[in-house]
Subunit: 127 residues, 2 copies
C-alpha cells in the first residue's frame, strides 16, 4: 500500500478517485495554506531529473525500480539519484519499500492524479 | 486569443483538448528535453503567491484581472505582484492584454490542462 503523502493535504484524504478530493485551482481563490502545500508538492516535481526519475520508475518492469536501475539511464551518480528519490518520497510522489540490500520505489498515482485534478481548468467561453 | 506558451513545447501544438497533445509522465521515459521544458513550467507554478494569483485571476469577474485587483487580496506590493504575473505570462499560464492604463491577465486553460494531462496516471494493479 502506498505511504500516505506528507506534504499535500489535498491528497491525504484521497481515495482511488483523486478528482473527488481536490478543488480545482481555478475554481475559487486558494487559501494561503492550500497554496503553500500545493507549491511544495509542485516544487518536488519541478526538476528535470526528478521528472525523468518518476517516468523511469513508472516505466520499469512491475512499476518499481531500485537506485541500481536508475543511475545509468539518467547519467547521474547514485548519491544524486538517492537525493532526488528522497525528495519525491517526502512529497508523496513515490513510495519506498526496503527489501534486502535495495530499496524499491514506485509511483503513487493518487498524488499525481490529485495534482492533475487541481490543475484541470474549463475552457474560457469565447469572447 | 491567448498568447502561445513559450516554455512548454508540449503545449505549443495544443488545441482545445490538451489531452491529445501530451504523453503522460508515467507512459514512457521522458527525454531530457521534454523533462527540462516540463520542469520550467512546473517551476513557474510551484510558488504559493503565483498559485494564489492564478486562482484569483480565474475567479475574477469575466475571468480576467489587472494588478489593481490582485495586490489587496494577496497582501503583496504591486511590484511583487507584477513580477509574479510576468513569470506566469512567460510560462504560458496567463495571457496579458494591455487596455488603457492597465494590463489585464487571464488564465490559459490549455497550458493547465496540458500539465494535468501529463500528470494523470493510471492506478497500479493491486499487488
Amino acid at each position: 500500500m502506498p505511504a500516505a503523502p506528507t506534504t499535500l493535504p489535498l491528497v491525504a484524504t484521497a481515495g482511488a478517485t483523486a478528482g473527488a478530493c481536490c478543488a480545482p485551482l481555478t475554481g475559487e481563490p486558494l487559501s494561503a495554506e492550500t497554496a503553500a502545500a500545493l507549491a511544495r508538492t509542485l516544487k518536488a516535481l519541478a526538476d528535470p531529473a526528478r521528472l525523468r526519475l518518476l517516468s523511469l520508475v513508472a516505466a520499469h518492469e512491475g512499476g518499481e525500480a531500485c537506485v541500481c536501475d536508475l543511475t545509468e539511464p539518467l547519467g547521474l551518480s547514485q548519491p544524486t539519484v538517492s537525493h532526488h528519490l528522497k525528495v519525491l518520497v517526502e512529497a508523496g510522489l513515490l513510495t519506498r519499500d526496503k527489501r534486502g540490500v535495495w530499496a524499491y520505489f514506485a509511483v503513487v498515482p493518487e498524488t499525481l492524479n490529485a495534482l492533475a485534478a487541481v490543475l484541470v481548468t474549463p475552457a474560457r467561453p469565447a469572447s
